[in-house]
Amino acid sequence: MKLITTIIKPFKLDDVREALSEIGIQGATVTEVKGFGRQKGHTEMYRGAEYSVDFLPKIKIEVAVKDDLLESAIEAITGAAKTGHIGDGKIFVSDLLQSIRIRTGESGDDAL
């Protein structure tokens, strides 16, 4: 099992969710986050005082997938989240040691 953590632009959330649904992934956790990469921030003005906004709002999606779905999941996310402009985000893949469905107690691939 693998845990995919992906950072995307907020307005891409619905597209990515749909793309994941299409390949059979049925659950995800979404968090509102802030971050910066090479996109950097921008300066704003409030009552004559300039301030820089270094952190930009992003969406973080965490999905646990079976090993055989990993490649298509990455493809789906990339296809849906990409705009071609700077700030599109990143995908991180890590090994998932265990996963358990709380209601039934199922574990491993059965829990995904």
Partner: protein, 422 residues
Amino acid sequence: MQDQIFELQYAMDTFYFLICGALVMWMAAGFAMLEAGLVRTKNTTEILTKNVALFAIACTMYLVCGYNFMYDGGLFLSGVTTVAGMDDAAIQAVLDASIESGFGDMGEYAGASDFFFQVVFVATAMSIVSGAVAERMKLWAFLLFAVVMTGFIYPIEGGWTWGGKSVFGLYELSYSDYAGSGIVHLAGAAAALAGVLLLGPRKGKYQESGAVKAIPGANLPLATLGTFILWMGWFGFNGGSTLKLGGIGVANEVANVFLNTNAAAAGGLIAAMITARLLFGKTDLTMCLNGALAGLVAITAEPADPTPLLSTFIGAIGGVIVVFSIVTLDKLRIDDPVGAISVHGTVGVFGIFAVLLSDSDATFMGQLIGMLTIFGWVFGTSLIAWIAIKAVMGIRVSAEEEEEGLDIIDCGMEAYPEFVNQ
């Protein structure tokens, strides 16, 4: 028949005071929303508490002794006619007085309505202070100051101006201020300035490099709503200051006051908007809001005599002044989160002298001496009051408390508990 017409005049003029008083009371909601919108989330509950509490304290202190200091209304309003006091004999006395004065001059109206109209002005003056000291002052230090300001400081200078009393028996003022650019607005700003100088800026606002850190307000929709509420309430503030409605000339004056008040607000907003756009490259909403209020403050000393075009112009000058004043105060490292000192103080001074543009009876010296008397008295006594409060209980929260937010420290509750805080 004649009696009935005089009874109607009494009723109409009383009613007018009451409605205008209710409109000015509504300004308290305006201040609350404006300030709540311009502070950070973690300080919102506290500023709302300050606003509701200062209104209640103003109403009570003015009732207890303020009205007596200002207009000799009697301690605890002993001089105001109650319902029981308005018996047949009293009614006949009022009628006789009406018949004697005819339809000229002030005419007769209920004493209670006079108090009601006056007390909401006290609350307005006090409310100016709460925005300037926001985000770092102890709640109860502020409330203690409110007791002193509304029970004593404001009524004394109000007595010298609208009350017609001499200044400690030394001199009389020949100062013209229709609805209170100086008496209410400059006074509030002077008290605020004294407090802010003693309090110091918010932590991190001014950096050693000289840069000013922006601390954006949490809720601009509330700030905008507050501004519109204040704008509407101002019709009562200026309109009611005509003090009478029954009569052709007077009714026409009231109509012009409403018109000019509105025109000045509009002029102020447009001028501030353009000024901010030119200075900062962006159209700063908060400057637009401050601009509208500046226009209103500018016209408040004389909203009856100017032409509509002149009123727009006066408001516009106020709008330009306020933007520069806000920037200048930051350069002087005087931290005013909502721009209260600029809107009510800097523009209040302008409003005092703007009277000379349309009122030929007013004199430059009269306005100057009035302005200096009001400012000197309010700033001086306020400073003493703030110093005393600071000695007794301290006026500023600790650095950790300021970091955590006054909502938790003073009120024990958050304004937006379901939202994730920064």
